[in-house]
């Protein structure tokens, strides 16, 4: 954790990720143009999470950071999930 070695991500890799993001964007637009009912929500959010994962891992260098930052990010996301999830104890059963 103490030794911070800057990791240089090659331009090829960055462009590859960008292309993948564009493909995923096209995919999410495509699946939401079809009538899938409630699966639309699941599908679009899954794709969004995949895109977010790529941005965080490569563009934001999380893949190359130590384990600490990953844990802290995880903690934050769990907290947010709890805030939203626990509110639904009220909203779902009102």
């Amino acid at each position: 954790m103490d030794q911070h070695q800057p990791h240089i991500v090659s331009n090829t890799k960055l462009i590859g990720i960008w292309l993948a993001l564009l493909v995923l964007t096209a995919l999410t637009v495509a699946i939401t143009r079809v009538e899938l009912g409630g699966y639309k929500v699941v599908g679009a959010l899954t794709v969004a999470c995949a895109k977010a994962g790529l941005v965080i891992a490569v563009f934001m260098h999380m893949k190359y950071e130590g384990v600490l930052l990953r844990w802290l990010l995880f903690l934050t996301l769990v907290t947010l999930a709890i805030f939203i999830g626990f509110t639904f104890f009220d909203v779902l059963y009102r």
């Binding site: 903690l75 934050t76 709890i82 626990f86 509110t87 104890f89 009220d90 059963y93 009102r94």
Partner: protein, 537 residues
């Protein structure tokens, strides 16, 4: 401020700069800590005066000294000032800044300039709040909770006050970011995680709450402003909004915020009790862990403020159950403090008396919290003076008394002079007595059914209200004596040198008052924070 200080080089004078600008633009954590201390304590005194006025108004039924609208504004401003301008920044901003970097063996915090910015944001937010009292439609009258729909409709100056609180929130976030980074990155050699003093541990847990919960307050306040200025209608039932959602968002922040207020106070007590018992703390790891556990569990229980708000019954049951979980780590702390005292060589000096009364008053407050946390009993006492008594036991009897303990324990270290012991003990006795007369009576009044935030009440509540008001005067007398004695001592008292308390944490190993650089060279830590074996008193 500076001309009465001892002449030995210290952070008061060793940079050669002692003017006002060398303070308000200083990036030294000790100076920023003192800035925070003087500003928060000033707002505390403002809040105290407002509280005393409220008590005088409630001394007898009907109008006593003010009208109903003034009363509504006063209890709102009392709450806003005490919570956002005193208790929340009080310990992390003042004592956290002063002590924590030295406790971990650092020269300063990780981001000294952000630290200064944090104080400035606090001041700017505070000024905006003060301006809101005297402009627009007058001081807000919503209560410190700014509940919709009233807050989105009242003609008083809610928008500006909310904006001020929003700014103060950023100051709190910056403190949190700074402290987490400092504790991760700037610990001295040998300062392992299991050697971190418990005060710093509690600040670490607090900082996480500040980081993860405060943004929710920020967005909630933005929504209130949008509601008022743009007419977004997100909480307006006639437009499809849901006022209960405001309460969810507000308490998602404000319940964890309760732990921003109490956790560092517990840290202060954990540091003081072993020093004045001459014994290592009992259950160091459990106390450190319970700080994190309280921070975590405290983020799951916001719904217990809303049992009577029309929330679903399922949510009531879930949140009520989760609320009881918080009692576990809290009790772990109390039992560990008591075990530390057992067979200790206890000296009842002023910091210790305040710390011990913290344990008692916090326990009373915590136990009355269980009555409120249980959904069935809460319905009976919800929105009564029982609630007011409860949170004053926790916030004032808990955090307030811990701050007084810290003032007597640490301020002499930073001034190199000390207060007189006897008046300090008399002041403590007066405050302790007055406090219990005031707030225990409030709890009784609440049990009998006296609602909170009401301007008038039935004549049958009269005698007890008079008792409570008299208690507030005893408390105020003790407070004045304490502050006069403390500040006289700090500026003109006996020299305070070396390590008179016999503390084993790092702040007692540096010169008194500490130099700007804190340590000569890089400190190397070789023993735990409560290992008194080599400490000379």
């Amino acid at each position: 401020m500076s001309d009465m200080q001892p002449t030995a080089p210290s952070f008061w004078n060793d940079t050669g700069k002692t003017g006002l600008t060398s303070w308000i633009f200083s990036t030294d954590h000790k100076r920023i800590g003192l800035l925070y201390f003087y500003t928060t304590i000033s707002f505390f005194l403002v809040g105290v005066v407002l509280g005393l006025l409220l008590r005088i108004e409630l001394m007898a039924p009907g109008r006593t000294i003010m009208g109903a609208q003034t009363y509504n504004a006063l209890f709102t401003v009392h709450g806003v000032v005490m919570i956002f301008l005193f208790i929340i920044p009080g310990i992390p901003g003042a004592f956290g800044n002063m002590v924590m970097p030295i406790q971990v063996g650092a020269r300063d915090v990780s981001f000294p300039r952000l630290n200064l910015l944090s104080w400035w944001l606090y001041i700017i937010g505070a000024v905006i709040i003060l301006v809101s009292l005297f402009s627009g439609g007058g001081a807000p009258d919503t209560g410190w909770t700014f509940y919709v729909p009233f807050s989105s409709r009242t003609g008083t100056n809610v928008s500006l006050a909310v904006f001020g609180v929003f700014i103060v929130g950023f100051s709190s976030i910056l403190t949190g970011v700074n402290f987490v980074t400092t504790i991760h990155r700037l610990r001295a050699e040998g300062m392992t995680w299991s050697r971190i003093p418990l005060f710093t541990w509690s600040l670490y847990a607090t900082a996480w709450v500040q980081i993860l919960a405060t943004p929710i307050l920020a967005i909630t306040l933005v929504l209130v402003m949008a509601e008022r200025v743009l007419g977004t209608g997100l909480f307006d039932p006639t437009r499809g909004g849901d006022p209960v959602m405001y309460q969810h968002l507000f308490w998602i922040y404000s319940h964890p915020a309760v732990y921003i207020m109490i956790l560092p106070a517990m840290g202060i007590v954990s540091d003081i009790i072993p020093v004045f018992s001459r014994k290592p703390i009992f259950g160091y790891k459990m106390i450190a862990f319970s700080s994190l556990a309280i921070a975590a569990a405290g983020s799951l229980v916001w719904g217990h403020h809303m049992f009577t708000s029309g929330m679903s019954d399922t949510a009531v049951v879930v949140f009520s159950f989760l609320t009881f979980i918080v009692a576990i780590p809290s009790a772990i702390k109390v039992f560990n403090w008591i075990s530390t005292l057992y067979k200790g060589s206890i000296s009842l000096e002023a910091p210790m008396l305040f710390a011990l009364s913290f344990i008692l008053l916090f326990s009373i407050g915590g136990l009355s919290g269980l009555i409120l946390g249980a959904a069935a009993t809460d319905v009976h006492v919800h929105d009564t003076h029982f609630v007011v008594g409860h949170f004053h036991y926790v916030m004032f009897g808990g955090t307030g008394f811990a701050i007084f303990a810290a003032m007597h324990y640490w301020l002499p270290k930073f001034y190199g002079r000390r207060y007189k012991e006897k008046p300090a003990i008399v002041a403590w006795a007066l405050m302790f007595t007055g406090f219990n007369i005031l707030y225990f009576t409030m709890q009784v009044l609440g049990m009998k059914g006296m609602p909170r935030r009401y301007y008038d009440y039935l004549p049958e509540f009269g005698p007890l209200n008079l008792v409570a008001t008299i208690g507030s005067w005893i408390l105020a007398a003790g407070l004045i004596l304490m502050l006069v004695n403390l500040f006289r001592g700090l500026f003109r008292g006996e020299p305070f040198d070396g390590n008179p308390w016999g503390g084993a944490t790092l702040e007692w190993s540096v010169a008194t008052p500490p130099p700007t650089e804190n340590f000569e060279g890089e400190p190397v830590v070789t023993h735990g924070p409560y290992d008194f074996s080599g400490v000379k008193k």
